[in-house]
Amino acid sequence: MKCFIGIDLGSTTTKAVVMDENGVQLGRGITNSRSNYDTASAVAKQEAWIDTRLTLFRRNLEGEEGLAGEVDRLLDGLERNFRLEQYLEQLDDLQATCLGNAGDLRFHAFRERLEGAVSDTFERLRADAASLYAPGAARKSDFFRDIAGSQYLQVSEPIAEAANVPYDALLNVYDKSIIEVENRPPGGDMDNKFLRALDRELRQLSDLAVERAVIARHITDALAVELEETYVVGTGYGRVRLPFPKEHIRSEILCHGLGAHMMYPGTRTVLDIGGQDTKGIQVDEQGIVVNFQMNDRCAAGCGRYLGYIADEMNLGLHELGPMAMKSTKRVRINSTCTVFAGAELRDRLSLGEKREDIMAGLHRAIIMRAMSILSRSGGVQDQFTFTGGVAKNESAVHELTRLVAENYGEVTINIDPNSIYTGALGASEFARRAVMEAA
């Protein structure tokens, strides 16, 4: 079948959306952006293909009467097992790379012990893998870098101590290796991983009303569907570096506008807060951008700001919002220089302010910046759609909701759980139009 792909190469994350010729979204994929843009795009795209296959599986399985009410569970299991397969494969790669890097001259004095520690660490990681992907298990992130990284950090400290090698060295080996691994183009055979995952899954399921072979056939049928990469449109921060000709590239402003319009046709104002830019966009009833504003050369108050805060507090990004929500007192933070965020935090802590209050203040500061940009772009009109990574943050959403109400009265605020894909969605629609409307 014809597939149209939009890729949004952001400063933090790279997103891909696969769409069919009727404008139906088939799959979405995301990965962290990295220094190799081609790889980042390829990985995001591969993730979107995986998601597309899952959609196709669903379509096939839903047609099977005996499976009514079971499809979700089945697909969830399949995906988890697929991820597990993928994770194990990447762990192997990472381990090999780590062992290579442990050979560095600097570690000469304790090389063998270091290698031992690396191997022990990976052994543990593999042993823990299954539980990471057990039903209902919460993962810190969906990116291999983050999952493996946090596991590695935890596991290796005692191992280092026991093996009498410097913990710093073990971390350094990891830091170096993860970059290499990450920047290798995605490998592995997707179909086989799905089949292996299916195998694992089916072994775990006992109470199915349908023959296993029937399920397997649906899956293999879906895998056999040929997915044609008909047209790709790239957008986002890194788009100029995408390996596409110019006509395949669209401004991220237009893509976000169109994407938001597709999710919520009533949208008139879009706010997108990404890693290092904040955009306020006004669109008309056809999703055409009529006005926009972005932050200037200063990245103060963008998503990366939260990243610095998270680093400073040793927290995951997704933990910041909930912490801020516990605040009971308003702390005013005026400087939103991203780099000084940590200093500001320490300053306030030393003044005796509570963490959650400061945190709420920091979130508020980001949203204040965004409000100014919105005001610059022409204010907030009904309906208002909030997109980008920061829209995942409940405290940011909370502050935004309040400030919008204070300044613009009653306005419908749309936040889609998949809002991070807005730009990629818009891009995929541009790709579809480029072919279908030309025809």
């Binding site: 400063s11 952006s33 990295r34 220094s35 190799n36 843009y37 600097r106 710093d168 350094n172 830091d175 170096k176 290796s177 993860i178 970059i179 921060y237 890194g238 570096r241 290092q276 050369r297 200063c298 990245a299 963008c302 990366r304 400073e312 507090m313 040793n314 400087s335 220089c337 991203t338 780099v339 000084f340 940590g342 200093a343 320490r346 030393s350």
Partner: protein, 281 residues
Amino acid sequence: MALTAAIDLGTGAVKTVVFRIDGDDIEWLGRRVDRIRNRDPLVLARHGFESVLKQVGVDEQELDYIATTGDGENIPFATGHFFSMTTHARGAIHLDPGTGAVLDIGALNGKAIRVDPRGKVLAYRMTSQCASGSGQFLENIARYLGIAQEEIGGLSKQADDPEQVSGICAVLAETDVINMVSRGISAPNILKGIHLSMAGRLVKLLKVIKVKEGRVLMTGGLAQDEGLVAAINEMLVKQRLDAVTAVGHPDSIYAGAIGAAIWGAFRHEKLRRQGELAKAS
């Protein structure tokens, strides 16, 4: 004679020292650095202080003056506080009596201080509110490139064609760096580029305070980074300040604490002479 301890509470690390000072006779008894790494700095300061005292076998009661510097104003058990440029200046003169100026490069700010031979601050300048080109930035990039702190200097010195880091903004510069990697620029050239951009800012500070010749002692943690020292020296030549050389010192990181300890002793003597003898309290 005065027995003094000093604590320099930084953004990256807490430095604690103990001195016995009798006029010009200055004896360094003990020292300690604790990287903060998300721990509570005040707790860490107390802990560091106690362990140094134990290490040199001095009782807290015996101290004549406990001085703080850096962000240590809130340390409850201190006798007095000195501002960090005052202390870095004095500490630098102690470490290197011939020095004419000090470059203190911390995690967030850089400071240039011109001093006279007695450690008096003659002029100074700090980098501004914007954190571009700070130590923190270097640290982030190094982590991103998977490079350990001690490796930075050595790698930077291998650069053959340093890449210019444009961004005014540290955050956008991060992306700049990522772009560089994607263009295949080598780590040494990237690091050297960052070093040079930092050096540019620092040399500018030196120029503003009118340092025209002599030795500049680098203090603070980044003084250990030989790549940065080299970059600064290159930049000095490039900016027609050939008569100035920047040097590091193995004990650079203690400069602030040393200065605080010496000034503490000085204040103690002064107060004693004025009959207002203040015991550490």
